[in-house]
């Protein structure tokens, strides 16, 4: 993992975890998620009063872009934003679905002051 200490450039370290044989959840969904995060909180530092708004905006943008893909999927998008203070955070998910049509992906993004984790679950209809 490459972590640069450049002054004001946010570093996106995308980590894709595409689970299941849900090959229908592809890089498109991942890119939607990543763009949504970049555009919303790209160059900002953690601000407690704005986090509320940021999480909502990230999730809404992400969902909007996913719906534009016009795939026969229902989507669930969750976003966790956490301040960097040295504490640890763990996320796990367990799903009861059809592996051949459903899948998920997770976008992990960080900058100098905060972490952002976006999970996208796609369920086929």
């Amino acid at each position: 993992m490459l972590l640069s200490r450049a002054a004001s450039i946010p570093i996106a370290i995308p980590l894709v975890v595409v689970t299941g044989a849900g090959l229908r959840v592809t890089m498109d969904e991942f890119q939607s998620g990543e763009e949504a995060v970049e555009n919303t909180i790209g160059g900002n530092a953690y601000q407690h009063n704005k986090v509320n708004q940021w999480t909502s905006t990230v999730v809404e943008h992400c969902l909007n872009q996913l719906t534009k893909l016009a795939k026969p999927f229902k989507y669930i998008v969750t976003c966790v934003i956490m301040q960097k203070n040295g504490a640890g955070l763990h996320t796990a998910s367990s799903c009861f679905w059809d592996n051949s049509v459903d899948g998920s992906c997770t976008v992990r993004w960080e900058n100098k002051t905060m972490y952002c984790i976006v999970s996208i679950f796609g369920l086929g209809v």
């Binding site: 407690h48 996913l66 229902k74 989507y75 966790v80 956490m82 998910s93 367990s94 009861f96 369920l123």
Partner: protein, 104 residues
């Protein structure tokens, strides 16, 4: 998908598993996964046929810092729903969300 029933189940699971637990960086990944699986099996017992389930569990160490979690879903509002619960003790916090989507 009955939110209240599922929320009660999630609360029970969280209280049972986490009531005396301290944040321990080695154990926590296993605990997180175990809780996600436990919630999933409990919700399956509620016998929501034809429902696909997604359970997400986030556990973090409590050090007085800010965390915010949001979720949005693109689904059929008449048939799909979700339930969530938060559990906190002195050393950790845990957020669990269970989503149910009807399969036509």
């Amino acid at each position: 998908f009955k939110t209240a029933v599922v929320k009660a189940k999630i609360n029970n699971v969280l209280k049972e598993e986490l009531s005396n637990m301290f944040y321990n960086p080695e154990e926590i990944p296993y605990v997180t996964k175990k809780i996600a699986e436990a919630i999933k099996t409990r919700v399956k017992e509620c016998a929501f046929d034809r429902y696909k389930l997604v359970v997400q569990v986030v556990i973090g160490e409590q050090r007085g810092e800010g965390v915010k979690m949001a979720a949005r879903c693109f689904w059929d509002a008449d048939t799909d729903n979700f339930a969530q619960a938060v559990y906190m003790n002195e050393s950790l916090f845990c957020v669990a969300a269970a989503f149910g989507c009807y399969y036509y």
